[in-house]
Symmetry: C2
Subunit: 244 residues, 2 copies
DNA sequence: TTGGCAGACTTTGTATACGAAACGCCGATA
DNA sequence: TATCGGCGTTTCGTATACAAAGTCTGCCAA
């Protein structure tokens, strides 16, 4: 509820207009209420939110730039379906950016910042215990963004926000059953390192946390046969490993 | 002007529609035909390109997401004016991302890739010799993007593209007179390192090249008194209360 | 002369309307 | 019976129209 606002009302970007539709749709996708690949017809969305197609299109375009929806010319909008390759690339980018950001954050975090992270952790725990999986993933992403905000580098914050958004989508697609507890544990350790102002620890913990996250994903090339076939026929990414 | 297309027709992003207006405006800003801070009225742009305000708004929104224009609610669109802080952050981000990207590129560059870079270098030289300053900066940015494309990581490519766009704007704002030759020299050395498949060299050369670029900028807080004053009065914290 | 106010003008924000392209259905034909 | 082509429906793309917010100018009063 209240955190819906916090996602986008972060102090970093004052100028960009974000309609209620944008926020709602974004939370819907990130909270896994809407499956990847789902079509998002303009009329329908306009009817739901009682706005005209004009504003729907604007929101859709913004979401498309965030890579959360895919705009196909003359076809419409669909919630994005990152490929495994994209997924790997996203995590490779995170592995580069986030340890650096964590180190920066550890270097300048105030007591209030640490307090804030602790509160966030609390919420995460609550969501996990309540079994609200989608919300937990969303809060987890917000945790990473929160660290970036502490680091105080707006460009890095943007990057992390973007990458975490996509990661949420990726997780909803490629997550294989595994214990979520370990993640919360990693977050705790991270906060401790930041509280201790240990940049090195924070950096290394972030690295291993991301490796851990990635290892929880099923990014092997096979899996659902129909999808692969469709991809090949469409000409999207035919080259890499062929599946018998 | 054939390169105008190449900027945005890169193979990385097939779905996003980019109107002629978007491309034209982008090139106008990046090529320094339009000064930062300039207002971009919807009607005027629509008249120039013979399109309705609908498509103008879409292009403006896309540009805003690229941080090339700034959208002020009920005020209109202005070409962005990065602050010195933002400028520093952009280059800090580049310092993190681009050496990594250069190393990746060096690791997998084909002969054709190196050839392409050489051709690009040639164009850069031509632009510099012709005294086309704006075009030279634009080509320089494209060079960095080209390296990212060779690296073959679409997320990194996006990042570099974004950061280079902003850098063009930053350079047009904060560049202090200095020799441009050194830059071309750095690019040459970079290509050589990539041709030799030396990831370490490429990484280090990129780092020093970026440091060099940054040192060519005047990012000190004072500088031209008039502009500074205007900045303070306009952007920072306008004295809310009435003047005694 | 200066400060404040009210009006018109300009520019943006949103809605609606119309044209175009794509998809699906159905019948005709080999 | 399977395939191909035409037609209708649906949805998107663009233009235009109207409403709201902001800005500027000119006037009046202190």
């Amino acid at each position: 509820m209240l955190e819906s606002d916090e996602i986008d009302e972060s102090e970093g970007r004052p100028a960009v207009r974000r309609s209620a539709l944008y926020i709602g749709l974004r939370n819907g996708i990130l909270g896994h209420g809407i499956d990847p690949g789902t079509k998002l017809p303009e009329d329908e969305l306009g009817a739901i939110y009682s706005v005209s197609r004009t504003v729907v299109r604007a929101a859709l375009q913004a979401l498309a730039h965030d890579r959360l929806v895919r705009l196909e010319p003359n076809r419409g909008a669909f919630v994005a379906k990152p490929t495994r390759t994209e997924a790997r690339e996203v995590f490779e980018a995170r592995a580069l950016v986030e340890p650096k950001v964590a180190a920066l954050a550890a270097g300048i975090a105030t007591h209030a910042d640490v307090e804030r992270l602790h509160r966030h952790l609390e919420e995460e725990h609550k969501a996990v215990r309540a079994g609200k999986d989608g919300e937990a993933v969303m809060l987890s992403a917000q945790f990473h963004v929160a660290i970036a905000e502490i680091a105080g580098q707006s460009i890095f914050t943007e990057m992390v926000r973007d990458l975490c958004s996509r990661s949420s989508l990726i997780i909803s697609l490629y997550w294989r059953r595994r214990d979520t507890i370990c993640e919360s544990h990693a977050h705790h350790a991270l906060v401790d390192a930041i509280a201790k102002r240990s940049a090195l620890d924070a950096s290394e913990l972030m690295t291993s946390h991301l490796v851990d996250l990635l290892s929880g994903l099923d990014l092997s090339e096979r899996q659902s046969s129909g999808k692969k076939l469709a991809d090949i026929l469409m000409g999207r990414s035919p080259a890499r490993g062929s599946e018998p």
